[in-house]
Every structure is written in structure tokens, then in C-alpha cells.
Symmetry: C2
Subunit: 481 residues, 2 copies
């Protein structure tokens, strides 16, 4: 009976290896992470998905505040004239803006874009707030929704509306702006590796792939299990482009009027999609312990036997008190159903408590990532669980890293590149020309992902993998979400 | 010098008694709580204002979760056809909706309202999620931005875009929905009184003043220092109105298909405006300690003297470690300037540390609410501060309550009502007719605020204060924001 239920359950999810996109859709819906709404391109984030976002927010927000950033809130609407002040920026974002043209019954004199990102409105305020070098640096962040009108959408990965944070800072010098850009990139890297258990390649985007209006864009790229890349976050050095367009000037110590240098950086609910596609398996989600809404699920076994339910509840309460996100499932489903349910939900550790365990003063722990069983004495449960969750984190990170490494190749020839991007990431020499980039994309479906911070140097005489002209850099190519 | 600075500073704020609206505007801008944006009707919440919102959010969110509510996120956009399904609701909200009519270059087939509130979209999802009584109750909340197109705006109090939370629940029975409505009303009351130090009158709205589409709306009304009312929050029993319009049905234990009963409840950044107008004085803000971004400001006095700066920094660090939101101001402004600055910012306690204090192993504490000075031995500082902040909270609450009581009258005659609403709240008997309500509003500018949960009973033979017909209830009248 339990066996049948098991099987029935697992077959509800498409095979990860046979149909990765369908597997993704099955997993996010069946685990109640997300649902489709009747609104074009917009998703509903259900409590089990939103809780992950809250845990991400808490841990990122603490990191931002530690480095002196403060949260603020800027308007949702951006007048068209304001959007237009930075030429490259408007070119990048206007085509995908949602436009408010009516307020109540009234046609607006100027249409308003629903913010696709907030450089324009924030820089226009910074222009009011910055007068002297004493006002600098300005270090702000906002948590909000943004809208980019998308034709083809997929929950978490690409939707018309999504949730994110966007940091915006203004500095005295170009050097300080670059330092901030890299500091925030490193904050993201730390978060992705040490919280989400996702290895990322940090590097600089090509001119074509950089943020509209930026001087330089730095990115964090992760490999999904199907070998495709997902851009997990970006940190932009905006140079003085926006300061000049929005007139952010300050009086220097020497009494001269100077333009500021600004940065912006953001990560979004897209990371949730990345987390699912990096760690999930054929049984469903595998949640990294540090953002798992439930870290430990306690299952009473033979719950009708005297004392079992009480002991399980007692354990759950102890674990909650000790700071674990713990729950008990005392529903009247079969154990087999419950095993499947909580495996599908990706809960890192399942604790089974039955009459024999109680007799032996122990519990049986099952790791979600490896399905390995461990017997843990009750007296050292909290201590062992802390270590176990850390161990699961490390093991998940290493597994993801191993997959990435196994699917990354160095291509000497264009043929090798074409083959490599069918399977994963390709490192190759590149001439730096947008034309080459576009041709490679047209021919292979792969885009440049980044010039890695470590390892983008080329050897003397190196030539572009595509055109054969002298190479300028080593760069990653991959198909991407 | 310090004296002059003092005076210069205080005169930057209009007198609270002579021009309350100007005082409000001066205070919120000069303290950098908020700024006007170039976007029609939209405000920028600056870090000092946003921090208050974050502290409010944390404390409310914990209360919601304790009572089993989970956070989720629903789309910003609501298709017009969806908005129209509940007749009263669309009538109430469509006239003030902002409409998105274009996505990118494309004119949309159906225009989308930027959510003014989310009953419609959330109920349409509940209709998919609820099948059986086992799925009930559904207890969700979302923190988000909403837009109501306003002609005349004032930061925090009424803006086209604002931030809020909206709880939405679905239940098996009318009784459970009513119980939830009152539970959330009481959660808000507890928060407003015990966190914001604002006394509120809880009661039911008249038919005219209730939420568009609700069965009954319950409200929390606070008195501002100018005697006007501010609706601080509402909790709606929506009956089966939305369940019928959006088809939220469940199979009961008996196997019958039944409609759910739903509720919704919300509070917004408007509460920040209320907090300012209830507690502020001619020197600026007076922050209630439990949401003050800075609870204690440490000022080194004669900071050039050896050991002073170090001791002040040490105290600040100790206080932070002990869990206080503490900062030190070691800028090179004069002490007088600093006193004014931090008084204007409403920091509950100022600690002065000078050479003589250090010698005597003490600090001088100055309460913001009363400006009273206290000498506190350094060794018992944390302990005394905890008690002092609690004392300030209680004292602020009592002061606000005393003001409200002194400005509330019982009117036997219409003449008394007319006089009373010039100054504050009026309790009077009312026939329950909307016509009477409308006439009173036209003649006096006052609206019905609520039928209080306690004290709305009438004596036998009581007549309406306006029309003289038999009265149905006692009700509060006031001018309102």
C-alpha cells in the first residue's frame, strides 16, 4: 500500500533527465511553491515559495545593513520623460515597459512606466539630496516589485512581474564606485555559496550583455542540471553615466563641483528557480538547509501506539525551541505517503519516531539529499542535527560544483564550442567583437556569460574561437535561461 | 552660539497649534522621513521613515504568524473583467484605479488595474485552491504596494501609492469569519496601543463608510492632536459576497457543496503619519520607543577631553550588544545643534557623557517626551534604560489618551454636535440613515467614524441628534484625514 502510493506519487513528476522543463513545472506546482494566475505573465507565489523568499531576504538584508546600506522606498511609477534622460537605458527598458495611461477616468498627460528598475527615479532624488562630499557615499537599497513585459514566461525564471532588491549607491570617485560594485558582487557570492549551496562563476559581462546604461556589469552565473546557465544576480558600475543624465553633483573638499559615480545591484525571486534547478532530483525539491522553510519534519511511526505522538510532539517543540524550523506531520496519511510528500517538498531531514526508537532512546534521521539513514541518540539530537544540516549544505554545494565541472569544457575550435554548449559551459578565447558574439548566438543558441574574474587572461598569440582574429579575453559561453 | 542654533532650528518648524498641517509637512521633511517625488501623488520614503515601517512590519508580522497566517504574493495587475465580478467592489475601486493599457509597444486587449486592494485576484486563486473543508481555513497575508489614484495627497496619510499588508482568509462558516475579523481587529489594537502608544477606538463602520463589497467593516480610529480622526486600520467581514462572486466553494464534512465566508484586513504606512500627528510636539517628532529607529543617542560632551569619545563609544557598543537601537553622534556640530537635531528626530532618550560624568561614573539621560533630565549610574545603565523606555511608552500613551478624552464630547443636540466636531470627537445618537449622515457631513464636514464595540447601546426613547427620529445606535462623529 505504502509502496503503491510511493510510486503513484513519483510518477506525477516528469523525469528530470528526459524532460527538464516539464520536471521543473511539475515540481514548482505540485510542491505548491507557485501557481499560475489569470494575469498575463504574472505568477502567484504561494506560502511555501514565499517563505523561501523571506528567508533569502532576511539573510541578504542583514548583509546589506552590516555594510552600511539602508532601506528606503521609491515610487512604482516612472514618468516617461524621466525614463528618457539616459539614452542607452531607455532604449533597453522602454520596449518592455508596462504603461499606465489612465488614472481613474482621466487620461494622463504623460504616461507612466511601471518601474522595470529604479535607477532613473532614484538618481533624480539623489540629485536633490547630494550637495557636498559630506553627503557621500549614499548607500540605499529597496525591496520591491518590478515589471518587465515578457512574451514568454516561466515562474521564478522570467515573469512580467517579479520581486527583487535593488541597491543604489552614489560615491565621490570612480574607484569607490568600483569598490562598492565588487563588494556587493562578493556579498552575493557569499550568499549564493554559503546559503543557497550554489557555486557561481563571477565575472564581467560583454558590452552586448551589460546593463543598459552601465559602465560595466558584473554577474554571478550558475549552471542548472541541464547544463544551461542562469544569471543569478548582477552588480553594475554605472560610472558617471547616470550622474550626468540626472545631474548628481557634489561640492568636493576642494570646493569644486563634481559628478558622482553610481552603482546598482540586484537579485530577485529568480534565485528560487535557480535553487530548484540546481538541487532538485526525480523525487522533487531538495531544499538547501539554510533557506528551507521546514528543515526537519518529524513523523510519528505507528502513531496509535501509546506515547508515540506525545514523544514526536515533544521532539518537535524541543527542536523549535533550539532554533530549528521544525514541524510534525501527524495527519492520517500512510507513512509511505508522508515520506513521498516531504521528500517532494525537499525537507532536508526527516525524523522518524516509533515505539522501538522511543524504547532505545533514539530517532531515525533520513537525509533528503542522499536518502541515507542515520540513527541518532535523542540526547544529542539538537547538536547532531546542527552538524547534519551543515554537512548537507556542504555536500549539496560539492555535488553542484562537481556537476558544473563535469559539464564545463575548454574549446580550442569552434566545433568544440558548438558541441560543448549542447551539454554545458564552454570556456574559449574571444576577440571581443559583438558581431562574433551575435553570430555564435545565431548558430549555436549560446550567449557569452562572463569574462571570469579569475581565468580570463589569454596566452600570447591566442585567437578568437570563432573568427580567428587575435583574442582579447577568455570568456564563458552557454545556453541560458 | 549653541543657544542661537537652538532657536534657529526650532523656528524652522511651523507652530503645531497655529498651523498643524504646515507643522506636519515641516516635520516629515526636515527629519528626512519622506520626500516628494516628481511622480504625481507618489512619495519617497527615506531611510529614517522606512526604518519605522520595517520595525512596524516585524512586530505585526510576528503577530500574524503566531495566529497561523502565512505570507504569499499575488500579482500587481488585476484584469478589468476580474475586478468587475463583485458589483459593489468595482463601483468603489474602479473610479480611483490606475490603468495599464500598454505592454511594451502593444495595446493590451484588456486593460489591467494596478491593484487598489487584492480581494479579487486572491479570491480567484482561493477558488482554485479550496476543494474540501480540509483545505480550510486558508489564512494568508501579503506585504505589498497598492495604488489608488488620489487628487489631493499628503505623505503617509493619503498618497496614490502606499505600502501595506492585506490579510485574506477563507472559512467554513459565517461565525468563523466573524471570529477572524475580530481577532485581527484585536491584533491591530494591541499593536497600536502597545507598540505605537496610540489609543484607538474600535468599532463598526456605518453602511456608507464600510469597505466596498463587505458585509461589515470594523475600524480603529485615533485622534490626532488637532482633534481630527485618522482611520488607522480596518478589518472586514466579507460574508459570502466575494465567495459567491469568485466561486469559492468547498465540500463540507456532510458532502454538500457550500460557499466559504471570507475576511480581509489591512494597515498601511498611513500609521506612520498617525504616529507623528499623535505624538509630535513643537520641537519635532516624538518617536514611540518600540518603533523608534534610534532609541538612544549617545552624545559625547567636551569630546576633545581625554577619554570622553572612547567612553561614549564604549557605552554605545554596550547598549547595542544589550539589544538597544543605539547610536553615537561624534560629528563636529555644537552640543546645542545636536540636542536640537536629535530632539527633532524624536529619539526617545539622549545620553550625555562628559568628563564630569565619567569621573562620577554616571551619565545624564534626557527624555524626549518630557525633556526631563535624569542622572543614571553607569553600572545600571542597560537595566534603567529598559525601564525608562517602557515608562516613556506608557507616559506617551496616557498623554495621547488624555488629549483624546479632553476633546471628546457627548452631544445631546445638533448644535452641540456642530460645536464638538470643530474641536474633536462627538458621541451622539443616530437613526442609522445614510441621508442623515450625508446631511451632517455637508453641514459640518464631519463623518461618522464608528459605532464603538463598547458604548454603542442607546437608552429607550433616544432620538437621532440630527433628524429627531428614533435612534438606532450611538456613534462617533469627527472630521477626518
Amino acid at each position: 500500500m505504502a509502496k503503491n502510493k510511493n510510486e503513484e506519487f513519483v510518477t506525477q513528476i516528469a523525469s528530470r533527465t528526459e524532460n527538464f522543463p516539464q520536471w521543473y513545472t511539475d515540481v514548482i506546482r505540485k510542491t505548491e511553491m507557485v501557481d499560475y494566475s489569470g494575469v498575463p505573465g504574472c505568477m502567484v507565489i504561494r506560502p511555501y515559495g514565499y517563505r523561501v523568499w523571506e528567508l533569502m531576504q532576511q539573510q541578504l538584508d542583514a548583509r546589506f545593513k552590516e555594510t552600511g546600506h539602508e532601506n528606503a522606498y521609491f515610487p512604482l511609477f516612472i514618468p516617461e520623460s524621466l525614463l528618457k534622460k539616459e539614452a542607452e537605458h531607455v532604449e533597453g527598458f522602454a520596449p518592455e515597459a508596462a504603461w499606465v495611461t489612465m488614472g481613474g477616468e482621466e487620461v494622463l498627460q504623460e504616461r507612466l512606466a511601471v518601474r522595470p528598475t529604479s535607477e532613473t527615479i532614484i538618481c533624480s532624488m539623489y540629485s536633490k539630496w547630494v550637495e557636498s562630499y559630506k553627503d557621500l557615499p549614499l548607500l540605499m537599497n529597496q525591496w520591491c516589485n518590478v515589471v518587465r513585459w515578457e512574451k514568454s514566461t516561466r515562474p521564478f525564471l522570467r515573469t512580467s512581474e517579479f520581486l527583487w532588491q535593488e541597491g543604489h549607491t552614489a560615491h565621490e570617485t570612480a574607484e569607490e564606485a568600483q569598490k562598492e560594485t565588487m563588494q556587493q558582487l562578493n556579498t552575493y557570492r557569499d550568499f549564493m555559496e554559503n546559503v543557497l549551496a550554489i557555486p557561481v562563476i563571477c565575472g564581467r559581462k560583454s558590452e552586448k550583455e551589460k546593463f543598459a546604461g552601465a559602465y560595466a556589469t558584473f554577474t554571478l552565473e550558475a549552471m542548472m542540471q541541464d547544463g544551461k546557465a542562469l544569471q543569478m544576480g548582477t552588480s553594475h558600475n554605472l560610472g558617471d553615466h547616470f550622474a550626468k543624465a540626472y545631474d548628481i553633483q557634489y561640492q568636493s573638499k576642494e570646493g569644486k563641483l563634481e559628478y558622482c559615480y553610481t552603482t546598482s545591484w540586484g537579485v530577485s525571486t529568480r534565485m528560487i528557480g535557480g535553487m530548484i534547478m540546481v538541487h532538485g532530483d526525480d523525487r522533487g525539491l531538495v531544499m538547501p538547509p539554510r533557506v528551507a522553510p521546514i528543515q526537519v519534519i518529524v513523523l510519528p511511526i505507528a502513531a496509535h501506539k501509546p506515547g508515540v505522538l506525545e514523544k514526536a510532539a515533544e521532539l518537535r517543540d524541543q527542536l523549535k525551541l533550539a532554533g530549528f524550523r521544525a514541524q510534525m506531520d501527524d495527519s492520517d496519511h500512510s507513512p509511505g505517503w508522508k515520506f513521498n510528500q516531504w521528500e517532494m517538498k525537499g525537507v532536508p531531514v526527516r525524523l522518524e519516531v516509533g515505539p522501538r526508537d522511543i524504547e532505545n532512546n533514539q530517532v531515525v534521521a533520513v537525509r533528503r539529499d542522499t536518502l541515507e539513514k542515520l540513527v541518532i541518540p535523542m540526547d544529542s539530537l539538537a547538536e547532531r542535527l546542527t552538524a547534519l544540516l551543515d554537512e548537507i549544505h556542504v555536500s549539496m554545494f560539492n555535488k553542484a560544483l562537481a556537476i558544473r565541472e563535469s559539464k564545463t569544457v575548454d574549446a580550442e575550435t569552434y566545433e568544440e564550442l558548438k558541441q560543448g554548449v549542447q551539454n554545458g559551459f564552454v570556456r574559449a578565447n574571444w576577440c571581443g567583437c559583438t558581431d562574433c558574439e551575435l553570430e555564435i548566438k545565431a548558430e549555436t543558441g549560446a550567449t557569452t556569460r562572463c569574462m571570469p574574474l579569475e581565468g580570463s587572461e589569454i596566452e600570447e598569440g591566442a585567437v578568437c574561437v570563432h573568427c580567428g582574429k587575435p583574442a582579447k579575453t577568455r570568456i564563458y559561453f552557454a545556453k541560458a535561461y
